[in-house]
Symmetry: C2
Subunit: 433 residues, 2 copies
């Protein structure tokens, strides 16, 4: 569609008039972005921005292979799963090739939200129980069931509150939580919090349907739970009859560099794996993978159908994304450039007192900003994010107090971009003194 650089004001007015007030725009003076290429975005005047924020365009903005697949398939047809199409099975086989053998069945839906909703239905159908255990500050989507298991949503002022079939455990944050990195037994201690949660669900006669967690909690603050945490949790949940759901929306598909999925780092095998955001590179797509046994429990007489889920184009795009990650060695690039970023951020931690913690893996990185007393420096975080934008670098922020810089660019990012991020961030942090 055609537009002129001077349309921005009109677009902003239309936005204010016709969009919900709680659909937020990034930055007080919002950006209008009209072009993308790899990890770069371009505004209405053609000015480039380094996109170190958006994990959805996993293989890069405007990837020509995604464009070509869509252009090809939409010439042919785009229909649903009521009929056979080779693209459906080809995508399922590609997804399953990335997972251990125990995973045999795929469900295709239109978002991570829908996939987490389905995970909840599968867990409850398989166990006959209702109760769910989930870490605090988690986020799994924006619909009724997804919100019920998302403390990030239900626990906010104005939120719907905690359902009595949901039990929260502390997020396994070993920088700021109850057990810190100096405690070698912290993984077990965090995991032990699941015990009273299970007891409570049993006392309320909900039983334990399962446990759901972002493998590395993202809105919770780019947290890497200590190794051993999930193994201990899964053991307890399974002993109570529940199933273990790994929400890999933020961590899956090679972003972590060393691991294709976050659960590999935790050395566990979930029963249900949920994928979203990156798997369509922007195309609305969510995927759930599970075992034959759980799929059979769900096949209880109620049909499951998603109008667009598993549509021809969605399947072709999903498969192409996974294939591009392979062909372009993007997992390895995440490891290399992510490592450079992590090293650079560590030097900033040593240099700037307001950097309390640097954590992450591959291109899933967090920088926790603190005040001199160690408390959360929300205002510094906002300042840094806005100053980075002045330098045309887009990054995000997360955490219960919104004091953690979030860096999770498309996997195409290169060494020189990492160098620029570090250099600019160093300069901006220097402005704070």
């Amino acid at each position: 569609m055609s537009y002129s650089p001077t349309d921005k004001q009109h677009v902003l007015e239309g936005r204010k008039a016709h969009f919900g007030g709680n659909l937020s725009l990034s930055y007080a003076d919002p950006l209008m972005l009209v072009r993308g290429w790899k990890h770069y975005l371009f505004d209405e005047w053609g000015r480039p921005y380094l996109d170190a924020y958006n994990n959805v365009p996993h293989v890069g903005h405007a990837h020509p292979r995604i464009q070509a697949v869509a252009a090809d398939q939409l010439k042919r047809m785009n229909s649903n799963t009521r009929y056979l199409h080779p693209a459906q099975t080809a995508f399922a086989e590609k997804v399953l090739s990335k997972l251990p053998d125990k995973f045999e069945v795929c469900y295709f839906v239109n978002s991570g939200t829908e996939a987490n909703e389905l995970a909840l239905r599968l867990a409850q159908a398989h166990t006959g129980a209702k109760g769910m255990v989930t870490p605090d500050h988690g986020y799994h989507g924006n619909t009724t069931g997804a919100i019920a298991i998302s403390a990030y949503k239900f626990n906010k002022p104005g939120g719907v509150g905690q359902a009595d079939w949901v039990e929260l455990v502390e997020i396994a944050d070993d920088y700021r939580g109850s057990y810190r990195r100096d405690d070698p037994d912290r993984a077990r201690k965090f995991a032990d919090q699941v015990d009273p949660a299970i007891r409570s669900l049993k006392n309320k006669e909900h039983g334990v349907a399962g446990f759901i967690a972002e493998t590395f909690p993202s809105v919770g603050g780019q947290i890497i739970p200590p190794k051993g945490y999930l193994a201990a949790v899964y053991e307890k949940i399974r002993a109570a009859g529940g199933v273990c759901i790994a929400d890999e929306v933020q961590t899956g598909l090679g972003r972590l560099g060393d691991y294709y999925f976050g659960f590999e780092y935790q050395e566990v095998l979930p029963d249900i794996v949920v994928m979203g955001k990156p798997i369509g590179n922007g195309h609305p797509l969510g995927v759930l993978v599970t075992t034959k046994e759980i799929a059979e429990s769900f096949d209880n007489g109620i049909e499951f159908f998603s109008t667009f889920g598993g549509s021809t184009l969605s399947c072709r795009i999903g498969r192409e994304v996974l294939q591009i990650v392979d062909d372009e060695g993007l997992q390895n690039n995440a490891k290399t450039v992510g490592g450079q970023l992590l090293d650079g951020l560590k030097t900033l931690e040593a240099k700037h007192a307001c950097v309390g913690d640097v954590r992450g893996m591959g291109l899933f990185l967090g920088v926790e900003l603190i005040r001199p007393d160690g408390s959360e420096a929300t205002e510094i975080c906002t300042y840094v994010k806005n100053r980075m934008r002045d330098h045309r670098i887009l990054i995000g922020s997360e955490g219960p107090k919104d004091n953690i810089l979030k860096i999770r660019p498309p996997l195409t990012i290169e060494a020189q971009d990492a160098q620029m991020i570090i250099g600019v961030l160093d300069q901006i942090l220097g402005e704070l003194v």
Copy 2:
């Protein structure tokens, strides 16, 4: 992607191995369909089928303008609503141009399911109440909240059962329901069933958040509620403090011929309108439209964000679909060809005893098949559907007893196709004697 006509067996085996058993394929010997054009689909051998079933490819399968828009936009970028883009406001303005002035705010999500979930949140946020009233046999989606208001799902064996904050009323089916067409007061009588539902919600202290219904219930059996029904219901719901939600997923965007939305026929103004299926012509897209007041109630401190909802490509495709309906006069075509179909079906009703009722409007049509005693002829319906497929015509079936033939083709269907449907159906019904 490349495939050979002989791949079908392999695809079927992959489907059985890697898809949930409750994701159903149409027909005992399923079809593999690999090409589409307007209202035609083509199987792996190139054999054509008339698609009189699928209401998702609203402007026709493989429409070149949809293909062109996707091909163009994916070269540029496909990002989210955290940044401004002219396509977002252009789509919102196009949607709102089709609606009365009271509707000012759009929400873009990825499916009708997600849009109905959001409608529920908006109704509950606006009223501070929880209770919902909805007709029996309704269907609004496949997630927790959507299922809770979908009797078609929660009331089946194996279903989750009825939530205590949901009250069902009888579907306003004046062919088979409590009040028939010979009763001039049937609209009011059906609507009066809302009174005890409201009382019950108040007694349980849930209050009345709202009423949701497919304007013309589709899975309930292609029902056209008697004129005046919704006006009477809306009056009662509003008097009780609730908001009125019109699910126009099946009926919106010109399919009805005389009306762009079903609520126009009912001469009411809903407070929330939900659109899905056809609005992306197969692209995952759901839209909710509401008033400024309701949008403001929802803006209560909790951010609403959908990763893919309102993405650049989704907005461009949605706008293009609406524009094609206008440019190609498809609403008028639905009226003309739908009228021919309805007339032809009425002649079959007069000729074949097993046709109990023919109903519908535009290209939203139902043919209720009955046994000699007037009861639901499920087995005849299955027979007819399969025989139609032998003649390479795809139609569906619906209704609580699955005895209603459902005809709702893409809006591109032509007079000669309607003639063929009538001719073939006449022949097949003749086989039953």
